[in-house]
Structure formats: structure tokens, C-alpha cells
């Protein structure tokens, strides 16, 4: 729990001007929607790359981006320091694709090895081919979530160190390396899944909300439509 939620849950979308290639706004909208539906007031804050990143937020979101913007985002986040301070406050960080890669020690952009924020024990390089298509697998059982479904589109491969756990055992698609997908440690969680990830995985959204609020569980919602979407997508990959 990062703060008393007196002013409501603060959801910070980091650099939508650089990291918003694949409907990443969706993850922010879904978190706010699912919080409010439980009576938890939620405030969404979009912080552009030419602005200072506040360090008192409850949930930080990083999205996907092309090589140039990804390298620029990493550079500005390193200079700004706000995200590292937020992590020290035990804020929740949810990062997708390019945003996931730049949380690690290094990543590749435009053929160059770039320094990342080194906030989780991962490093990324280039794979032999681009991974494009449906992504699915079984989530780390300690998180108690149903199977993950998403759509991936990236050229990177990510290597996990002992400081993180894989998020998913892959059954369809590539993810980190064809075996595992995503990573998590404490309250930081990264994935290659677009879709957006939280539209297809509402239980993952609720996990992030639990981490941010300190609640053990949240009240049930009518998830008729997300459940039908999940069933359709998982059936499409033979699950």
C-alpha cells in the first residue's frame, strides 16, 4: 500500500506522448472503471515526457512504443527519477512491451544497446524474428489468476534474472522467449500482452488494484462481456 487513499486512487499514465502505440490508454481506463465500480474513487493523471513525473501516485502505467520513443522515454525517466522514487514508496507499476523492457537493466532500440531503469532484474535484446499474434499461458500460481490472454507484437526477447519471477508459462505465442512471458517482483509487473492486457484479463486488473489498496479482495463485478471476450480469445488458441 503506497498511500492512505484519502484523495482516491491515483493512476498515473507515464508519457502517453511516447509510450502509447497499442491502445495503452485502455489499461488506465479499465483500472479506473473497476476501482470506481467498487466505490473506490480513482483519479487518472496523464504525464507527458516534458513534465515532471509525480512520485506519490498509487499505480503507474507504461505502454508500448516504437524504438525511438522508447529510448527517449528511458532517458527522460532516468533523468527525472520520479518513477524510482515511486517504486521506493511501493507504488504499483504495470508495464507493457516497450515499457516492460525499459524497466530492466538494458534493452535494444534502433540497433543500439540502451541503459534501462534497472528497477527489475530483466534484460532485453533482439530476437531472431518478430513475435506477432495471440499470446496465452498459465499465470504463476502464487498470483491466483486464471490463464492470461493477450496479443503480442514485438521484436525483443527478455531474459529474467533471479530477482524476478516469470508471470506466465507460455502455451501460445512467444512472450519473453517462447517459454515464459512477462515478469513480476513485489508490486512491479511487466508483460508483452497488448489487447489491452487488462481488457482481456480483468482479474489481473483487480490484482493490481488489490496491491494498490492493500485489500485482500474486491467485491464481484458483472463481467459478462469481459468473460465472453476471454472465452472467445482462449478458444481461438485452442484452450
Amino acid at each position: 500500500m503506497s498511500s492512505d487513499l484519502n484523495g482516491g486512487l491515483q493512476i498515473v499514465w507515464v508519457y502517453p506522448d511516447l509510450l502509447s502505440t497499442y491502445g495503452d490508454r485502455g489499461n488506465m481506463l479499465i483500472l479506473a472503471h473497476r476501482a470506481r465500480a467498487r466505490g473506490i474513487p480513482a483519479q487518472t493523471i496523464e504525464v507527458r515526457s516534458d513534465q515532471r513525473l509525480p512520485d506519490q501516485g498509487d499505480i503507474y502505467l507504461l505502454g508500448g512504443g516504437e524504438d525511438g520513443p522508447q529510448a527517449l522515454a528511458a532517458q527522460r525517466l532516468l533523468t527525472d527519477g520520479g518513477l524510482a522514487r515511486a517504486a521506493a514508496n511501493r507504488a504499483v507499476i504495470f508495464a507493457v512491451c516497450a515499457g516492460y523492457q525499459l524497466l530492466g537493466s538494458t534493452f535494444f532500440a534502433k540497433g543500439d544497446k540502451c541503459p534501462g531503469l534497472d528497477m527489475i532484474d530483466i534484460s532485453s535484446d533482439r530476437g531472431p524474428s518478430r513475435a506477432v499474434g495471440e499470446l496465452a499461458g498459465d499465470v504463476d500460481p502464487t498470483l491466483g489468476l486464471p490463464p492470461l490472454t493477450g496479443f503480442e507484437n514485438h521484436g525483443g526477447r527478455t531474459h529474467l534474472g533471479p530477482g524476478v519471477k516469470p508471470l506466465v508459462r507460455v502455451t501460445t505465442g512467444v512472450g519473453n522467449d517462447g517459454v515464459t512471458e512477462g515478469a513480476w517482483s513485489e508490486t512491479i509487473l511487466g508483460t508483452y500482452a497488448h489487447g489491452p492486457a487488462l481488457a482481456r484479463n480483468p482479474a489481473l486488473a483487480d490484482l493490481l488494484l488489490c496491491w494498490a489498496t492493500g485489500e485482500q479482495s474486491l467485491g464481484p463485478l458483472d463481467d459478462t462481456w469481459p468473460d465472453r471476450l476471454r472465452a472467445e480469445r482462449l478458444t481461438a488458441v485452442g484452450r
Partner: protein, 415 residues
């Protein structure tokens, strides 16, 4: 075939094969023939497009959105001067251009819609008099190039042809960057608005932040790129020409977006010497473009089809559509792009208060999106179910590419 006598023998043969193949393709129901015909012709004469273009006065129209409609309007406007060859079915790659010119025979003028990836190649082959640059934004995400990279490719292509006149959108920083290195007297700027700005927050010249001001103004924070002053503008539903004279333009096609497309066409035609007053009635006679905007009566419902293939064109479709029952149909097949995440780039709230129906292969993605967006909806399995679910009167249909084709095919079957 007298018009082909001046062509080199190999070219004449290629044109003949191209036409035959196109006719066969149409006769066997495998398409309108423009692609297969052009492809065969180009195998026989690789310079076929250049040969067919030689001697014609040509305008090219490119951009992410609006190019089919603007091409149609421009061809209509140039019709004031004489016969115009054009690729009217969205076959906008060199094979389609080849086929269109071969089919048209000898015309003094040609207006070609060009896929943004092929602009450099087609400028090289056709030596156009005017190139219209409409806009650049994200499209078919999982295979498109970065938007800024495309602007750079355009800029390089145009730099190699300084005598080509450019008609360009002053409201889109990517377009302004692409046209920015051109001799100033060879650029005509128009302003038709830019609803979708999410792909142009970052300056393509320096990576700085693009700041938006009042009345559509914008400039890079570092001062190296800013909105040029447009010569052609829209004001109170009229098109204002460079001489300051406002023209009433009565279109059958809906929305301010299409008025902007009309203004662009008038600006292009003016470079060929066409007076807007002569061209405007011809623009008003355009009723549909490759099935888009077509109105079809079915069971007492007046169905209108709008194509929305990327976030920018969804916003435009909401602006064009009447406040009436609306069917949204989404697929994610290859031509649509396989990832539906872009649904969250679009704000569907303008649809609140309308009866909304969802359909298509990926209706469930749309359902989740609308729930988050606070837009009530009903799911229908087929187009016929949608028609049955709405009262008599207008039914707006907004669909992405293959969903649009599916619904068009279904409407064609019953007619």
C-alpha cells in the same frame, strides 16, 4: 485501340494483356480486375506505368485518410477541362495505377490515389504536376511503419522532385514536415482540421514537443516547425479560396471532413487552371465513393455505410453520422490488422444517447470497450438482425475494412 498506337510495341502488348486479364478477372467474378491486369502488364513491360503516364498531366493524392474521396472529388473537378483517368476502386498501388491508365486510354489528365508507402515510387514513374498530401496517422498497427518514418520518406521523395507542386495540409505537423523542404512557391497549404492528434505530439524534425494553440495553431517548442498560414480554409461551412472569396459547396457526402476533402480537391484543380465556381457543381454530384456513404433502402430503413479503418477515421465517422441508430461492426482479419487494442484509442462517447448495436468477428472486444466507455449497446449476430432491431428510418453503419465489405456484400445480395 488507336490511342495505343503511339506506345512502344512492348508497352502496347503489355497494355493489351493487362486489359484482357482485367476483363477475365471481372468476368470470373474474382475482382474488378485492376490489380491482376496491372500486375501482368508490368511483368511484360516494367516501365509500363511510366509509359502510360507520359504525356498526361497528373495529380497524385496520398495520406492515411480521405484519399479515395479526395481523389474522386479531384477527378470530378478536373473533368471541367476534359477526360480524366483515375483509379476509382481503391486499387492504390502501382499495379492499380497501371491498370487504371491502361483502361482509360488516352486522356490528357489523370488523378491517382496513392498508398502512402508507394508515393516515392509513383512520383518517380509518373512525374506528376501536383501531389496532394492529406495527413499521416497510425493505420493497421501491426504492420505499418512508424508515422514519423513515413513523413521522412515523403520528405526525401519530394526533395528529389522540386518542380512538383505540393498541396498540403497545414494542420498536420507530419505533413508540414514532409513538405517543409520544398521551394515555398511550389507549396499550397490548406486547412481542413485535424481531429486526431495523438500521432503528432512529437516534432518529426527534432523530437521536441508540439504545442497546440488556439484556432488550430501549433508549433514545436524548439521553434523549428510551425503551422504555415493556409491559403485554402473552411469557414462556417464554406470553402474560402486564396483570393478570400468564400464558396458555398453543397455536397451529398456528409460531414466537415468531406468539405475539407472538397477544399483540397479545389486547391489541386486550381493548379491546373480550374475555377472553383466551375468545379463545385461536379463535386455535388458525387453520391458515394467505392460504396462508402452509399444509402440503401432496406425494410423501411435507410441504411448508410461509413468506413472507419483507423482511430482518426472513427472520429471522423462519428462527426459524419446522423444522431440515429448506429451499428458498429469490427473484424480483425489481415487487412484490418489483427490487434484490436486501437479500440481504446477511440473515444466512443459521441454515441451516447443513440441506439448502438455491435456486430462482427470481434464484437466482444467492442462490447468490453463500450462498457468501459459508458455507451449502452446491444449485440447482434447478423446485419439482418441489426436491421430488425431498429425502428424505421435512418440506420448508420460504421465498420472497419472487412466488416464493411461483408455488409456491402450482404446488401448487394438482396438488391
Amino acid at each position: 485501340m488507336s490511342d495505343e498506337k503511339k506506345l512502344p510495341l512492348r508497352t502496347a502488348f503489355a497494355v493489351s494483356v493487362s486489359k484482357t486479364a482485367a476483363a477475365l478477372s471481372r468476368a470470373t467474378g474474382r475482382g474488378d480486375g485492376s490489380v491482376i491486369g496491372g500486375r501482368l502488364g508490368m511483368m511484360i513491360d516494367p516501365d509500363l506505368l511510366a509509359h502510360l503516364a507520359a504525356g498526361r498531366e497528373i495529380a497524385l493524392v496520398s495520406g492515411t485518410n480521405g484519399k479515395t474521396t479526395t481523389t474522386r472529388f479531384t477527378a470530378a473537378a478536373l473533368g471541367v477541362l476534359g477526360d480524366v483517368a483515375t483509379n476509382s476502386f481503391g486499387a492504390n498501388m502501382p499495379t492499380g495505377h497501371t491498370s487504371a491508365l491502361a483502361r482509360a486510354g488516352a486522356t490528357r489528365y489523370a488523378v491517382l490515389e496513392v498508398d502512402e508507402h508507394y508515393l516515392a515510387q509513383v512520383i518517380q514513374a509518373t512525374e506528376p504536376r501536383v501531389v496532394a498530401l492529406l495527413n499521416l496517422s497510425r493505420d493497421q498497427l501491426d504492420r505499418a511503419k512508424e508515422v514519423a518514418m513515413m513523413a521522412d520518406l515523403w520528405r526525401q521523395a519530394l526533395a528529389a522532385h522540386p518542380k512538383v507542386h505540393i498541396v498540403a495540409n497545414a494542420d498536420d505537423p507530419m505533413v508540414v514536415y514532409a513538405a517543409g523542404a520544398h521551394p515555398a512557391d511550389e507549396v499550397t497549404w490548406f486547412s481542413a482540421g485535424q481531429r486526431w492528434q495523438d500521432d503528432s505530439h512529437v516534432c518529426p524534425a527534432c523530437g521536441g514537443h508540439i504545442q497546440r494553440g488556439e484556432a488550430g495553431g501549433w508549433a514545436c517548442a524548439n521553434g523549428d516547425l510551425r503551422r504555415p498560414s493556409p491559403q485554402w480554409t473552411l469557414l462556417d461551412g464554406e470553402v474560402v479560396a486564396p483570393d478570400g472569396v468564400p464558396h458555398e459547396v453543397k455536397l451529398q457526402l456528409p460531414g466537415t471532413v468531406n468539405l475539407g476533402n472538397a477544399a483540397t480537391a479545389l486547391a489541386v484543380a486550381a493548379k491546373f487552371g480550374v475555377n472553383p465556381i466551375d468545379a463545385i457543381p461536379r463535386l455535388g454530384s458525387v453520391a458515394s465513393v467505392a460504396g462508402r456513404y452509399a444509402q440503401v433502402e432496406r425494410d423501411g430503413r435507410l441504411v448508410r455505410l461509413l468506413l472507419a479503418k483507423n482511430p482518426a477515421s472513427w472520429l471522423e465517422a462519428f462527426e459524419m453520422a446522423d444522431v440515429a441508430p448506429t451499428l458498429l461492426a469490427i473484424n480483425a482479419r489481415d487487412p484490418d490488422g489483427l490487434d484490436t487494442s486501437w479500440l481504446y484509442d477511440v473515444d466512443f462517447s459521441p454515441l451516447r444517447g443513440r441506439q448502438v448495436l455491435v456486430s462482427g468477428d470481434r464484437a466482444m472486444d467492442l462490447a468490453v470497450r463500450l462498457e468501459i466507455n459508458g455507451v449502452p449497446f446491444t449485440h447482434v449476430k447478423t446485419f439482418a438482425d441489426a436491421v430488425a432491431a431498429v425502428p424505421q428510418g435512418r440506420l448508420e453503419v460504421i465498420a472497419n475494412y472487412t466488416a464493411f465489405q461483408d455488409i456491402r456484400a450482404e446488401l448487394d445480395r438482396v438488391l
